[in-house]
């Protein structure tokens, strides 16, 4: 589809509209009803992930030659926005699988790796996860210390990884570890199966939001990884990690757009009940003005996200464009959710409405896959280059 325009005069192509409609139906009918309960009980949405796989949502970043649909970033964003509008925990699970695992494997992996692993990913038999962060390396990702030591044809990995989304539910991880001393060029990427000896799930985080998505430590103790599981060349890990995040950020931007849309929908429904005798809005100017501002920005940042996704689908480098999309969308998601809490009054602070969950889920979008200050840094460097 890369040769056909995806967005013409700001409208999605018919193919993308179809994906959007399908994702919206799935999200509203199947994902939304249990979202509050899953959040409260911290239940992983295993059944929904299976359904998502049936709908083809887990194979969108997998090339057609390996059984995927190779739909690309924009299709992924369109789908993710819809799912996230109903449940951010379900959304991030799909986003990580597609953007942070399948996407780099498709781009940097060997034919052998793809042939071995993609068949398990296409239908969701295995979910993928991404292991970059450590206790002492968050925004400063290159400070990671997890070691990869050569042992004949194999590598031996050692050291805990932190903040791993889908950590306890994934079948396979892309792990970034230090194979050499150079801060940047000493990092390599490895495919590590959950069932490799020495892999274990550490502490599960107790979090503010996305509580149905397990965030865990992944402990690697003398994990023997075959040399054939090195992704790309030795020492390319950091550039693979960053390039992957450029794409992942689009998934998070889409998540933020979905949360913003859901918050706006809540406000709209709340205000729609308040009409005067002539059927005109009788809600306060304040609430109408807030709604108007949010709607305008949502449209604007959706375009920003689509633009970056299209560039990425063309194979162009999208560091700053992707950063802009995540920066703006994630801020909006938080503003919109806080506005929903605010405007819904006492109901906004209890689970009578979805606002209190949206405001908790929104908060992570400004943090993970590169905090907002990192996005600003990326944009500023590019503008000043």
């Amino acid at each position: 589809m890369s040769s056909q325009p995806q967005v013409t005069d700001f409208e999605l192509s018919p193919e993308l509209q179809e994906i959007q409609a399908m994702a919206r139906r799935f999200a509203q009918v199947e994902v939304k009803p249990g979202a509050a309960e899953r959040d409260r009980m911290q239940t992983f949405p295993a059944d929904l992930i299976k359904r998502a796989a049936e709908l083809g949502f887990l194979k969108m970043s997998i090339p057609t030659e390996y059984g995927g649909s190779g739909m690309g970033s924009l299709a992924n964003c369109i789908m993710l926005e819809e799912v996230n509008a109903s449940c951010a925990s379900t959304g991030v699970t799909i986003s990580v699988h597609n953007s942070l695992f399948c996407s780099p494997l498709a781009k940097w992996g060997s034919h052998d790796q793809k042939s071995r692993y993609f068949p398990k990913m296409v239908g969701g038999e295995w979910l993928g996860a991404y292991c970059l962060s450590e206790a002492a390396s968050g925004s400063d990702a290159a400070a990671l210390v997890c070691r990869a030591t050569r042992d004949g044809d194999n590598w031996v990995l050692n050291g805990p990884k932190l903040w791993i989304t889908t950590g306890s539910e994934a079948g396979i991880y892309i792990v970034f570890a230090r194979s050499g001393e150079d801060r940047i060029k000493g990092i390599s990427a490895f495919l590590v199966e959950r069932d490799f000896e020495g892999v274990s799930i550490g502490k599960k985080e107790r979090k503010l939001g996305i509580k149905a998505s397990p965030t865990t430590e992944i402990l690697l103790e003398n994990v023997k990884v075959p040399g054939s599981n090195l992704v790309g060349e030795e020492g390319r890990g950091f550039s693979i990690a960053l390039d992957t995040l450029d794409g992942g950020r689009l998934g998070i931007a889409a998540q933020a757009l979905g949360i913003a849309q859901a918050s706006i929908d809540l406000i709209r429904e709340h205000l729609a009940d308040q009409t005067d005798a002539r059927g005109r809005p009788a809600s306060s100017q304040n609430s109408q003005w807030v709604l108007a501002d949010l709607c305008a920005e949502l449209d604007a940042y959706r375009f920003l996200t689509w633009r970056a996704a299209i560039l990425r689908d063309r194979g162009e480098s999208v560091g700053p464009q992707s950063a802009m999309a995540k920066l703006c969308s994630s801020r909006l998601a938080n503003r919109a959710a806080r506005a929903a809490v605010d405007l819904l009054g006492l109901s906004g602070t209890t689970d009578t409405s979805a606002a209190e969950r949206l405001v908790r889920d929104a908060r992570i979008t400004e943090i993970y896959e590169g905090a907002s200050d990192i996005q600003r840094l990326v944009v500023a460097r590019s503008v000043l280059a």
Binding site: G209, D342, L346, G348, T350, R363, R376
Partner: protein, 355 residues
């Protein structure tokens, strides 16, 4: 950010010391767990009662200590630094229920902590219909502090004719349901349903202009008190962010040396200092019997703004650590946002400033 710049009296300084010690020794250790598992902080209220810190601003006739609203502000601020729920419960028991019941015989039990009370304010728009000498109440209050554990419910309601009434009911007479709340989860929050609840003449605390005056007093005092809680939350979140930024090393130096981080903390400090001025000023107006209505609205607005800003930026500075419960900032953020909607939402308070 020392409070001694803010010219507290010796009595107030004593209260500050007492409550700070209690907060740090008794309240803080269990705060995280109480919030996470919605454990009601009744023991903290009892502890405050033992220290004589429960009826601080209430009159001596009511069983209070008559030490003024600034004294309560100082106490709430200290408690909120470690546990918003405990501060919230103290506010509810004192500035809402205790004050509303002043002059009523029940008040001593409330001021002393023997009777736990829950307050349903005018925000909930409970309807009262005349029923003989008494009334019948209908309606639903969505988010009431201590609803599930209270012995008595102090409720405001309005008749079709627009008359306000204030009554005190046994908790068994109303419907109570558990709700999950965004913040203040350790206050036993609940929904209270009034479905044809009868109010006898005995249960009536005030009506007409007496009820108007009582509700007005409660509104002002509760807003100042809420501002104080917000202030404590803002300080705690700012302090947590500041501490973390000095310890955490990234890109070869402490986070605090990143200008972007330092500026966020700076803005939180400015917002917090502004809020403290507003809250203390409003409390002093009230303590000197001057009109504190607009000042109280501004105090709560400034406090809540600082609390949400500090909670939000605190989470951002801590990054992943800000998003997990162990670092407390996510709790401060939730409590701050929740506070914004209690005792008058932001929109109505902003209107109060100009009206």
């Amino acid at each position: 950010m020392e409070t001694d710049n803010f010219q507290l009296s010796e009595e107030q300084a004593m209260i500050l010391d007492t409550v700070r010690k209690f907060a740090q020794e008794k309240v803080e250790p269990k705060a995280l767990d109480n919030d996470e598992h919605s454990v009601f902080v009744r023991d903290n209220l009892d502890g405050l009662a033992e220290l004589g810190m429960l009826g601080i601003p209430l009159s001596e006739d009511s069983g209070g200590a008559e030490m003024g609203w600034l004294s309560l502000v100082v106490a709430l601020e200290e408690l909120a630094k470690v546990c918003g729920s405990t501060a919230r419960l103290l506010l509810s028991q004192t500035a809402l229920c205790g004050l509303a019941l002043e002059g009523n015989e029940v008040v001593e039990g409330v001021a002393g902590g023997d009777k736990l009370a829950a307050f349903v304010g005018p925000d909930s728009e409970i309807k009262a219909s005349i029923n003989g000498d008494g009334f019948v109440l209908d309606g639903c209050a969505e988010h009431v502090t201590a609803a599930l554990e209270a012995d008595i419910v102090v409720a405001a309601a309005k008749t079709m004719e627009g008359e306000n009434i204030l009554c005190c009911l046994p908790a068994e007479s109303v419907g109570r349901e558990s709700v999950t709340t965004l913040g203040f989860r350790a206050t036993a929050p609940g929904r209270i349903r009034f479905e044809g609840v009868a109010v006898s003449v005995d249960a009536l605390v005030a009506r007409g202009s007496d009820a108007d005056a009582a509700l007005q007093r409660v509104q002002i005092a509760a807003r100042i008190s809420a501002g104080a809680i917000a202030l404590g939350i803002a300080e705690a979140a700012t302090a947590a962010a500041s501490r973390y930024s000095k310890e955490r090393i990234a890109f070869g130096k402490p986070l605090a040396q990143q200008q972007a981080v330092a500026l966020k903390i700076s803005d939180c400090i400015s917002a917090t200092v502004a809020a403290r001025h507003m809250v203390y000023h409003a409390a002093r107006l009230l303590d000197s019997d001057r009109d504190a209505s607009a000042a109280a609205a501004m105090a709560k607005l400034a406090g809540v703004k600082a609390a949400i800003q500090a909670g939000d930026e605190g989470i951002q500075i801590l990054g992943g650590y800000g998003f997990v419960v162990e670092y407390h900032v996510e709790r401060h953020y939730r409590d701050g946002m929740t506070l914004a909607n209690l005792e008058g939402g932001t929109e109505s308070l902003r209107m109060n400033v100009v009206s």
